[in-house]
Structure formats: structure tokens, C-alpha cells
């Protein structure tokens, strides 16, 4: 990293392993480029035309050679594929117990909401050494959340949720880029991720709480928008109760099973007719255009909280 950098800082748990794969592919690339260049130079000099009437003998080709140079690249790409895919696969799911933060992209800023109620723009404060799961959506066009120092990137799409997770391993401030072209000031949609000591992070969270927590906000919307009239907690209402539901499989009317995750809850709120949970009358109205993305995020945070009530009644569920 000193002098002229060839890679960004390694500031997350996965950065080093991604770089190792990168070094390997770089070595493969350099090796084959060098081999091909050298062979071509050698052959071009060795077999240069010495007289204009030269008529070299024809060579048909060679099956063993063809097999050899089909097998070698096949083997190498197989190694890269297995290595890279297993790395990707391992890192595709956030670890259990990751802290959750909501991210909303809009032209041309990043809006961040911590479940405790802290909101920030173009800055994301996270604690060192704890896995952080981001649940992201966009208010307008497609954006892309990219932190080079963490080697993570994920598109941020309107109308659906994508998730991304990382665990920071270095204190400091790291650049956050929008990596999907999103209009006039795309290049200005830059923020920073600030990694703090966990106790400092707690202090930061407590220090400037600008409003209620997302769950509290969600609870209010749950009342005000009329969700609570049907979705009674004891399950006696026309709509399902949300106790212990979040993250669990639910059966649909078409016989399929789906996990009640952020995306599915969002879909149920906006386009309830698309996929209905079996056992209930099809009376849920669409809230398309009536709830903002922020409000839906808060509702999800609340439903998530309800989900933990039954799941872990002893530990945290004190509602």
C-alpha cells in the first residue's frame, strides 16, 4: 500500500480472501500473457522468411495438442470457478445476529436509518468487528452501494429489497460510491462509512437520537394505517398475526412456500394480490402510493420485532 497503491485498503473480513483470489487470477493472466507473447516472438524470429520462394510443409494440426490445450484452460477455469464460487457462496448470507441497518438510495444521496432511530445522510456509522446487514431499496432509479475497502457491492433497486453484509476490521473512514449510473450527479453520490469502536458507536447512537426508533415508528404506522384492525396479535382477526412470523416459511394459496422476509412483506403491502398467504380471505388492500419507502421500512422493522416475540420469548421479547 505504500507509495503507489494497487489495491484499496483491506478493511473487512472478506477483503483479504477476495484479494487472494485476485492475486491468483492476476498470476494466471500474467503467466499466460507472457507465455503467449514469448512463444510468438520466438516463432516469429526463428521462422522468419529467409527467401521469397520458401514453401513450408503443411501441418494439419495435432489432436493430442488440441486436447492438451483444451484441458489446461479447462482445468484452470475450473479451479478459479470453484474457488471463487465457494468464496461467494460463503459470503452470500449474513451471519446470524448481524445488526441491521436500512439504506435508501435516491438521486443523489444515501439515506441511512439505524433501527434505534438514528438517521444519517451519506454517512454510515458502524461498529468495528460486528457483522452489519444492510437492507437496501431505492426511491427512484437503480443505484449501487459499493465500498471498495470492504470489497462489497450490491445494486439498490426501486420497488424491491436487496441485502448486503460486511464486518469491518479497521477503524477509520472509507469511501462509499454509487457504482450504477443514476443520472446527472451520479459521480457526486459519494458517502463514507465510518468504522468506530463498539463503545463509541453505542455512544454515537445514544448521543444524537433524532427521533423515535424505527420499530416505534412502525408501530404507530401499524395503528394509523389500519393494519392493526385486521392483523390482531392473537390471530383472531381476518389477517394473520405477525407474532413469530418474520423470517419463517409461510404457505401460499397456490401451494408454494415462501419465507416471510423483507421483500415478501413489502410485496404483501404493495401488491397483496400477487401472492397471498393461504387460509385468509383475499381482502388485503394495496398500500401502493400510500406509504413511503421510509414508512414501509419502519413497518418491516416493527413486524420483525413482532417476529422475535414468540421466537425468543425469554431472551429479548419483552413487549
Amino acid at each position: 500500500m505504500q507509495g503507489f497503491p494497487f489495491q484499496p485498503e483491506q478493511a473487512s473480513t472478506i477483503a483479504r480472501s477476495v484479494d487472494h483470489l485476485y492475486y491468483f487470477i492476476t498470476a494466471v493472466t500474467l503467466f499466460f500473457t507472457a507465455v503467449i507473447f514469448l512463444i510468438i516472438f520466438y516463432l516469429m524470429i526463428k521462422y522468419r522468411r529467409r527467401s521469397p520462394d520458401e514453401r513450408p510443409k503443411a501441418i494439419e494440426g495435432s489432436l493430442p495438442l488440441e486436447i492438451l490445450w483444451t484441458a489446461i484452460p479447462t482445468l484452470i477455469v475450473a479451479i478459479i470457478f470453484v474457488w471463487s464460487s465457494s468464496l461467494y457462496f460463503q459470503n452470500s448470507e449474513p451471519p446470524k445476529g448481524s445488526m441491521e441497518i436500512f439504506v435508501t438510495g435516491k438521486q443523489w444521496m444515501w439515506k441511512i436509518e439505524h433501527p434505534e432511530g438514528q438517521r444519517e445522510i451519506n454517512e454510515l456509522h458502524v461498529p468495528l468487528g460486528r457483522p452489519v446487514k444492510l437492507t437496501m431499496t431505492s426511491e427512484d432509479v437503480i443505484h449501487d452501494f459499493y465500498v471498495p475497502a470492504f470489497r462489497v457491492k450490491k445494486d439498490v433497486l426501486p420497488g424491491r429489497y436487496t441485502t448486503l453484509w460486511f464486518q469491518a476490521t479497521k477503524l477509520g473512514t472509507f469511501q462509499l460510491f454509487c457504482a450504477q449510473y443514476c443520472g446527472a450527479f451520479h459521480a457526486g453520490m459519494i458517502g463514507s462509512v465510518i468504522v468506530m469502536e463498539p463503545d463509541q458507536y453505542e455512544a454515537w447512537l445514544a448521543g444524537g437520537v433524532q427521533g423515535e426508533s424505527m420499530q416505534a415508528a412502525g408501530q404507530k404506522i401499524f395503528q394509523q394505517s389500519g393494519c392493526s384492525t385486521c392483523h390482531l396479535a392473537d390471530g383472531t382477526g381476518p389477517g394473520p398475526s405477525f407474532l413469530g412470523v418474520y423470517g419463517k416459511p409461510v404457505k401460499l394459496t397456490n401451494g408454494a412456500t415462501v419465507t416471510a422476509d423483507d421483500a415478501f412483506i413489502r410485496e404483501c403491502i404493495l401488491t397483496p394480490a400477487a401472492r397471498r398467504v393461504s387460509g385468509y380471505a383475499p381482502i388485503m388492500p394495496s398500500f401502493q402510493g400510500q406509504l413511503t419507502d421510509d414508512q414501509i421500512n419502519s413497518l418491516i422493522a416493527y413486524i420483525q420485532l413482532l417476529g422475535s416475540v414468540q421466537a425468543k420469548p425469554k431472551e429479548e421479547g419483552k413487549q
Partner: protein, 542 residues
């Protein structure tokens, strides 16, 4: 078997160029060779326009805050650069110019199967091109050449629909050219010219034509749906209207990934012809090289999802597209090995076309190998959407395809114009382009791994050094591209007259005069040998 032996040239005999001089004889010509020249002039024009946009971009990026234009203008510059270079230069380059000129000549036919359709395809191309250019000047478009929704369909207030219509129109010219080549290669080969004797350039043209005919309609449909949403707010791609923004990307890349092979396969075909000629050898493993073109064309349709690894698509979808993308690397590698092996025990001369062909192999190798980083899921997550991608596809599409195109132009120039260009200048230009290209785009690989996203009108200061290096390299590259323009134009008037077969090449196109007569051959040749019969024993049979 030799065809009509032409009189020694006392005065210039009738040929397709001097057959008639009026402007009507060009604009209403049905001669595939003249249509090829119409294309040559038009795509050169678009190359200069698209290139000027690139020049402005590289000047702008010398300063982190942007040295030249407002961000909105910069966004229009990279959009128009991409649209013009891809749809109006690269895609038609080798097929519409060299393919048009050579397909009938190389199979021993008098013209393409549908000469009128051929002329129509040029007019369609021009109408689409002018439409796009006009929309570009009157307002411009700022979506990137990829037109991603919902930005393009609902948020951009630039000329999206107009430009999409321009590209839509031009698509038909590709389809018609592809159709014409397929029918011609199937039905009009000279007696004795079996598939296994077909020059590899024709195999490449055939594979390319398949992609044009099968892929382009999907692009047309996609752009049509985009315009429908943009104009009439029919909800297809925009979630606010109930659409799916990723549907657009699936449809778009289903065409646009194979489109990369429309650009590179023809260049591979050209390089096969050049290497065989200047090494005086049959292409090593001819059959495998031919089938690898076809397998690249087929596999190319199955890899589009690798453009979408970070869109939140399912992990398993990612795995499958990653695997298929790695598979495409294999036939490409096989080609490079076979070209290299062709040099073994050859008789190699270093004339300009050969230098371009070697430049192609070098840049294509680097471009192809850097594709491994992007086919690989874990590294693509970091590199997707950065300058690494920009560098990678420029190595393939500019380093590879343009090098191949220029190699082909230099190889067949004596046949096309009947004149020779100064070989020293041509060799110098090849070297300058190779060096300038690497100076321009190699720094972009480094920028990409450092994390600089593409399509940034301004950027954090730590990326400046590499950006300045890239811009400096671009001036070298620019000079490299200008030199051939000068000496090739010069040669048309002042170049020494070319013999019928100045390189001592096999191939039917070299058996007729330079430039060929309008009807190509006095009598249709009969083929008794495989392509590339360069050796003593084979040549003696001639």
C-alpha cells in the same frame, strides 16, 4: 484450375471502381463491392465522431473535478460515444465492409444472394445513424449506451426515445446483412467449395450472421418496450408503474452480450486469413478453429447473466452464469493456441497486416484473460461497474476488434482499391496503436481494482495520477489511428498499382484482378483444394 488469366496491365482494365463515375452509380449500386465502400466511408465517419467524444472525455478527466464540461454534458458524451461506437462502428465494421466485399469473392460468386436487400441495409443503417446523430446533437441522451431502466424510461429527460428509435432502425440493417450472408454462404459457393474448404473468415462471418439474425430482434423488442414505457407510461420496467427494472437488463444483455461476439468473431476470422498468408501455412487445427467460432456464437447467448451478478439475482443463478462464462473462455483460448501453433515451421514475413494480426492476438489475449476476473463471482462483486470493466471490454472491442479490422483493411486494401500503401508507415501505425492502446487502457485496470466506478464525471483526487496516464496514452492512440487515415487516403491516388495477388495468398478473391471487375470473375472458379494450400506440394497442383 486457374481462372481467367488477365492481360498484363497496359492500361487500367475495367473494374468495379471505374465502371461508372456518376453519383447515381454509387448511391443506387447493387454491387456488393461498392456497397462495401459506402459502408467503409460511413463507418469511418462514425468512428471519427465517436472517437471525438472519447477525446473530449479523456481531456475532461485529466482534472478530478472535471476539466472541460458540466456533468450533464459528460454523461451525454460517454453515452453517445458508446452508442455510436457499438451500433454504428463496431457492429457493422468487419461484417458490413470486409464481409460485404469479400463474402461473394471468397466463395466465387458474382454477388450476394440479395443485392437489393444489401443496398437497402445500407440505407437503413444511414437512416438510423442520421436519426441517432441528430437526436444526439439536438438534446443528446444521457442514459449510457445500456439504457438501464427505470432511469431511461421514466427519469431521464433527454432524447431517449429518439435515440432508441435510431438504434432500433439500424438493427434491421444488421438483420438483413446477416440474412444475406447466411443465404449466400449456403447457396452460392463455387463448385468444389465444400464447408470443410471454406476460409475461416467465412466461418466467422457465418457464425456472426447467426448472432445478428437471432439476437438483434431481441434488442429491437427491448427498445420498443422501452419507448412504449417512455412515451405512453405503459408499465413494463418501472416499478412505479408495476414493472420490473431488471427485466430490461435480462432482455438487453441477451442481445448485447452476443453483440460482443458480433464484434470479435469477424476479427478472429480476419486474423486467421492474415496469419495463414504471412506464415504461408494452413491454419493449425482448421476444423477446431472453425467449430470454436460456432461454439462461441452459441455459448455467447447463454452468459448474459454475468452482467447482473450484483443486481441481487439468486446465488444459484450467479453460479450458473459464472460457469457458462468460464466455458466461453475455452474456445477463445483454443483459437489463440492454434494461431500461435500456425507460426511453427512457417515462413513468416512481417508486412503490416501481419503486425496488426499479432497486435490483435496480444490485446485479445489480455482482454480475454482479464475476463476471468469478471466471470469469477467473488472478484466481480468488487470489479463490476468499475473502470476494470471499461478496460476489459476495450481490450476486446477496441484492442481486439479494431486491430482485426485494421489488419483486414490493410490485408485487402490492394484488392479493394488496386493500390498499395507505404508498408513502413503502416507498420509504424500498428506499433503506435498497440503501444498507445496499452498506455490508455492498462491504467484503467488499476483504477478499477482501486475502486473507481465508471461513468463518473468527476472523481476523488486519489485517482488522478492514473487518469492522467490514461489520457496521455489516449493521445498516442489517437495519433496511431490518424496515421492510417492519412496514408490510406493518400494511396488511393498516389499509391503504386497493386498486383492481383500481392501477398501470394490463397483464396479465390486473389485469383481475380485488383480491383476486381464488377462481375468479380470472368468465369466462376472451380475449387479443388482446401483453404490455405500454401505448401509446395499443394501449390504445385495449382
Amino acid at each position: 484450375m486457374s481462372t481467367a488469366t488477365l492481360d498484363p496491365r497496359v492500361h487500367t482494365p475495367r473494374n468495379y471502381l471505374n465502371a461508372d463515375y456518376g453519383w447515381k452509380s454509387w448511391l443506387f449500386t447493387l454491387d456488393h463491392k461498392r456497397i462495401a465502400l459506402l459502408y467503409l466511408v460511413s463507418i469511418t465517419f462514425f468512428f471519427i465522431v465517436g472517437g471525438s467524444f472519447a477525446v473530449l472525455m479523456r481531456i475532461h478527466l485529466v482534472e478530478p473535478q472535471g476539466a472541460l464540461v458540466q456533468p450533464e454534458t459528460y454523461n451525454k458524451l460517454f453515452t453517445m460515444h458508446g452508442i455510436i461506437m457499438i451500433f454504428f462502428f463496431l457492429i457493422p465494421s468487419i461484417p458490413a465492409v470486409l464481409g460485404n466485399f469479400l463474402v461473394p469473392l471468397m466463395i466465387g460468386a458474382r454477388d450476394l444472394a440479395f443485392p437489393k436487400l444489401n443496398l437497402l441495409s445500407w440505407y437503413i443503417y444511414i437512416v438510423g445513424g442520421m436519426f441517432t446523430l441528430y437526436s444526439g446533437i439536438a438534446g443528446g441522451v444521457d442514459t449510457g449506451w445500456t439504457f438501464y431502466t427505470p432511469y431511461s424510461s421514466t427519469y431521464s429527460n433527454t432524447q431517449v426515445t429518439a435515440v432508441a428509435i435510431g438504434v432500433f432502425i439500424t438493427g434491421f440493417s444488421s438483420i438483413l446483412t446477416g440474412l444475406n450472408f447466411i443465404v449466400t454462404i449456403h447457396k452460392m459457393r463455387a463448385p468444389g467449395l465444400t464447408w470443410s474448404r471454406l476460409p475461416l473468415f467465412l466461418w466467422a462471418m457465418y457464425a456472426t450472421s447467426l448472432i445478428m439474425v437471432l439476437g438483434t430482434p431481441v434488442l429491437a423488442i427491448t427498445l420498443f418496450l422501452l419507448a412504449l414505457e417512455h412515451l405512453f407510461h405503459v408499465g413494463i420496467f418501472s416499478p412505479a408503474l408495476g414493472g420490473d427494472p431488471l427485466l430490461f437488463q435480462h432482455l438487453f444483455w441477451f442481445y448485447s452480450h452476443p453483440a460482443v461476439y458480433i464484434m470479435i468473431l469477424p476479427a478472429m476470422g480476419v486474423v486467421s486469413e492474415i496469419i495463414a498468408c504471412f506464415a504461408r501455412k494452413r491454419i493449425f487445427g482448421y476444423t477446431i478453429v472453425a467449430y470454436s467460432s460456432v461454439s462461441i456464437a452459441v455459448l455467447g447467448f447463454l452468459v448474459w447473466g454475468h452482467h447482473m451478478f450484483v443486481t441481487g439475482q439468486s446465488v444459484y443463478e450467479g453460479l450458473i452464469f459464472s460457469l457458462l462464462s468460464f466455458l466461453v473462455a475455452i474456445p477463445s483460448a483454443i483459437k489463440v493456441f492454434n494461431w500461435t501453433a500456425t507460426l511453427y515451421k512457417g515462413s513468416i514475413s512481417y508486412e503490416a497486416p501481419m503486425l496488426y494480426a499479432m497486435g490483435f492476438i496480444g490485446l485479445f489475449t489480455m482482454g480475454g484473460l482479464t475476463g476471468l476476473f469478471l466471470a469469477s463471482l467473488a472478484t466481480d462483486v468488487h470489479l463490476n461497474g468499475t473502470y476494470f470493466v471499461v478496460a476489459h471490454f476495450h481490450y476486446i472491442m477496441v484492442g481486439g476488434a479494431v486491430m482485426g479490422y485494421l489488419g483486414g483493411i490493410h490485408f485487402w486494401w490492394p484488392k479493394i482499391t488496386g493500390r498499395k500503401y507505404p508498408n513502413g508507415w503502416a507498420a509504424l501505425a500498428a506499433a503506435i496503436i498497440f503501444i498507445g492502446f496499452n498506455l490508455t487502457f492498462f491504467p484503467q485496470f488499476l483504477l478499477g481494482y482501486l475502486g473507481m466506478p465508471r461513468r463518473y464525471a468527476f472523481y476523488p483526487a486519489e485517482f488522478q495520477v492514473l487518469n492522467v496516464m490514461s489520457s496521455a496514452g489516449a493521445t498516442v492512440l489517437g495519433v496511431g489511428y490518424l496515421i492510417p487515415l492519412v496514408y490510406l487516403i493518400w494511396s488511393m491516388r498516389y499509391g503504386p498499382k497493386a498486383e492481383d495477388n500481392p501477398w501470394g495468398a490463397t483464396g479465390l478473391e486473389w485469383q481475380t484482378s485488383s480491383p476486381p471487375p464488377t462481375e468479380n470473375f470472368a468465369e466462376i472458379p472451380v475449387v479443388t483444394q482446401e483453404a490455405y494450400a500454401y505448401s509446395e506440394e499443394e501449390a504445385s497442383g495449382d
